[in-house]
Amino acid sequence: MLPEKITFVDIETTGLRALYDRIIEIGILRVENGEITQTFQSLINPQTYIPSEITAITGITAGELENAPTFRQIKTDILELLVDTIFVAHNVRFDYGFLKSEFKRENISFSSRHFCTVKLSRFLYPTYRRHNLDAIIERFNLSCKTRHRAFDDAKVLYHFYTKLQQEIPLEKLEKAISHGLKQPSLPLNLTQDDLQQLPEQPGVYIFYADNDIPLYIGKSINIRERVLSHFASDIHAPFEMKISQQIKRIETIPTAGELGALLLESQLIKKLLPLYNKMSRIKHELISIRSKINADGYQECFIEPVTTITPDDLPNLLGVFKSKKQAKTFLAEIAKEHKLCERLLGLESASWRSKGECFAYRLNRCNGACSNKENPLVYNMRSLMAFSKSKIQAWPFKEQIVIEEQALNGTKDYFLINNWCYLGKITLDE
């Protein structure tokens, strides 16, 4: 049985991010038992800037929106139309996600069963490659007064649905809708086949946009499961939503095990600089804290930028940080916790350096290493203990090691590692 109550919805927005961008127009057709029972259309004042490219696409100008109602003013009208219906849109994750976010801003938890007409088209017409709204309009000879205006686009969806009822056997259409209600939506530019072909084994996956621009690199012990989880959550996560909108193809590189996937992901992120691996892709100039024994026998610390670290540096390296601020915060914490001398840690301001004891000593926060009042051996031992959590661990092996990982199909990866440095790998197929 086909759903009795359906709302065909389309929105225009200020951008692609449901959490940050806003709806500027909405069009809704409520259909009960095949008949349109109510319609609603309105411009919505987003109370924010309208990018010029949005005006270029939709024709909606900031001036037109100035006197339009806000979402708050029409939220009740919209809710009344959507209640108890199945929410239908073209690329439903987008429209549904935006409406959820708008309602959330109004402290309304909106939830509805929904299905996607892109997916419906794909399911019923698997031989066609294109399933965007223009392709559907052309294929079914539908009319649309103004494309990229919410109500006119929503009307196209209704007419498409009506056409399907005429052309597709009822049982098949019911099956397609039932399928659509159960499955997460696919990104517009990927096919079911693309996902079916994903390997269910450890490895790395790369999402590409147009012109093979890398969007995101991830790793998993089950590539297929992880990739599908990206597309299942995109309604709620702005990051997943952006990927869904832009992704054009997926490349996968299977590995024998988890370590291979982790190492490869780290290397590829640095090499390809994908758009959405922001934190990992930034090539930080690392900041190190190094130690040196001074003329009085005390361990002194120096904060220095560093580009590469060789194993020979490790004995004097007390820690590696992503910023100078992070390094200084760490030093301040251990100075307080272990009563270490702020002057020897390099934290004291220059104006105090010429004076006898450090400022912290006068506040009883230093045991007096700055003025030879603490035994250097005792101070150095306390200092080493304080740095134990930041210091790069001693290499736990006598020499270099090989780590072998074996996949279920017998493929083996061998990684050569020495002093925490990854030297290379070979792969042997069984």
Binding site: S266, K398, V402, I403, L416, I417, G424, K425, I426
Partner: protein
């Protein structure tokens, strides 16, 4: 074989290896290589 010619420390790789060595999985094994042979030679010998 893809074998780097220089040894460079990488903070991310360090974190990966530290955690991995700590919780070795059933699907992996670690073999130490003696120092008298070159890394490359032993690497090939071990893998073959």
């Amino acid at each position: 074989m893809d074998l780097s010619t220089t040894i460079a420390f990488d903070q991310d790789i360090y974190q990966i290896l530290k955690q991995f060595i700590k919780k070795q999985t059933n699907h992996s094994k670690i073999k130490q290589l003696p120092s008298e042979k070159t890394a490359t030679f032993m690497f090939e010998e071990f893998a073959m």
